[in-house]
Amino acid sequence: MNWPRRVLLIGGIALAVAGMCHGTWYAAFAEHQALDRIGGSLAGAFTRAG
């Protein structure tokens, strides 16, 4: 395997792995909590405005 192919191959799969690690962390620890906060603050803003 020549050098550019090796770098692209390993770099590409490593990027996919890094992206999936981030996605797993986001899905488990950030997404639902953030959505709850967004919904809560929007509803709160409208309620207070009323």
């Binding site: 797993t24 899905a27 959505l35």
Partner: protein, 369 residues
């Protein structure tokens, strides 16, 4: 010449596309994932997307009117409804996107199999783990809206999310092990010739050229969107929501209604631009990946060319139709859906061609045995 080509293909098949080999599993599984994801996306676009957007708009309208009337308990109820409609939309988009992207990844991993320094049996097991996870995640995500937090041991995450995360971990593990295999192979001195990447068919070359053109068009559109629209739309998002809330606070019904109409337009404008951009690039990548698997498509040259043309035509029609959906309404929406159907039909034809190829290969192996 024909006998040379045929012998090259037989070598290629016996080396890298044997019965239940990792490459064969990943190719057939990957295209199946893309096909199911696209069919699901088309059904979602026709039967759910617009109806759901109308419900979100109506819910937001009702919440603003309730705030205007000082009915605070209704505001919370309407926002719960809006949240539910947004979750319905979001989980379906996620299921569609993940299924297709896992399909792409499966096809790419199928290509690199000769450069993974593991035994075929190990590679096959990893391929099964990958495909199981790739199927599990979208199904879990799809079910999030329907299962909710029922019987969940956690406060914010339901069982469907847990299943989806488990699927994601399977895909992540499989890809990481493949990466380790590539790293091991790159340290060794052994060579792994793979004729698949060397074989050039006419259909493959057209897919490569057409796919590259689609990707470049997508990049150009993305650059234009980032330069001309992105900051303007983000600022408008904030100012419209602000106008909606202050209109409610000052009991200004006209201002609230204007803001609601503007908000719907803004969300639609953003959605079509992002969808057009994402779809044209993804279709371009799909065409380029499929180019490498054309030697496995057991169809006549003429039919291969027809399916290539159908795939590229659909790949252009869908994003263009989506982009003009706000201007031309149902006509553009119909064209976009027709484009999606063209891509699905072409992809299905190629998948059948590959299944025919594997059938011939297995029959020949059985005859020889």
């Amino acid at each position: 010449m024909n006998s040379l080509a045929s012998s090259t293909r037989t070598d290629l098949a016996s080396t890298h596309f044997a019965r239940v080999s990792a490459r064969r599993l990943l190719v057939l599984g990957g295209i199946s994932l893309i096909l199911v994801g696209m069919v699901f996306g088309d059904i979602f676009a026709v039967f759910v997307l617009h109806q759901n957007a109308a419900h979100v708009g109506a819910g937001l309208d009702a919440a603003a009117q309730a705030a205007l009337a000082g009915d605070t308990s209704s505001v919370a109820t309407h926002f719960q409804d809006v949240g539910s409609f947004l979750e319905n939309r979001g989980t379906k988009v996620d299921a569609h996107v993940h299924m297709i992207d896992f399909g792409y990844l499966a096809l790419l991993l199928a290509m690199v199999q000769p450069w993974i320094a593991f035994a075929e049996k190990t590679k096959r097991r990893i391929a099964w783990i990958f495909l199981t996870g790739a199927g599990l995640l979208p199904v879990g995500v799809f079910l999030i809206h329907y299962v909710g937090l029922a019987y969940s041991p956690l406060e914010a995450i339901g069982w469907a999310s847990i299943v989806a995360d488990l699927g994601g971990v399977c895909v992540l593990l499989a890809t990481t092990v493949y990466l380790a295999g590539v790293l091991l192979h790159s340290r060794s001195t052994s060579t792994a010739p793979d004729t698949l990447l060397a074989l050039r068919t006419s259909a493959g070359q057209r897919l490569l050229a057409g796919g590259l053109m689609l990707v470049l068009l997508g990049f150009a559109h993305g650059a234009y969107y980032a330069a001309a629209d992105l900051y303007r739309l983000d600022a408008a998002d904030f100012s419209i929501l602000n106008s909606m809330v202050t209109g409610s606070a000052s009991q200004d019904g006209l201002r609230v209604n204007t803001a609601l109409a503007e908000y719907g337009q803004l969300q639609g404008d953003k959605a079509v631009k992002i969808a057009a951009h994402a779809h044209i690039i993804e279709f371009g990548l799909l065409a380029m990946i499929l180019a490498f698997f054309q030697p496995y498509v057991s169809l006549s040259e003429q039919w291969k060319q027809r399916w290539v043309f159908t795939l590229l035509a659909g790949s252009l029609l869908l994003p263009v139709g989506v982009l003009f959906e706000l201007k031309f309404g149902l006509l553009a929406g119909g064209l976009a859906d027709a484009g999606g159907v063209l891509v699905i039909v072409a992809l299905l034809a190629m998948w059948i061609g590959i299944v025919r190829y594997t059938g011939r290969l297995d029959a020949a192996a059985e005859m020889a045995a």
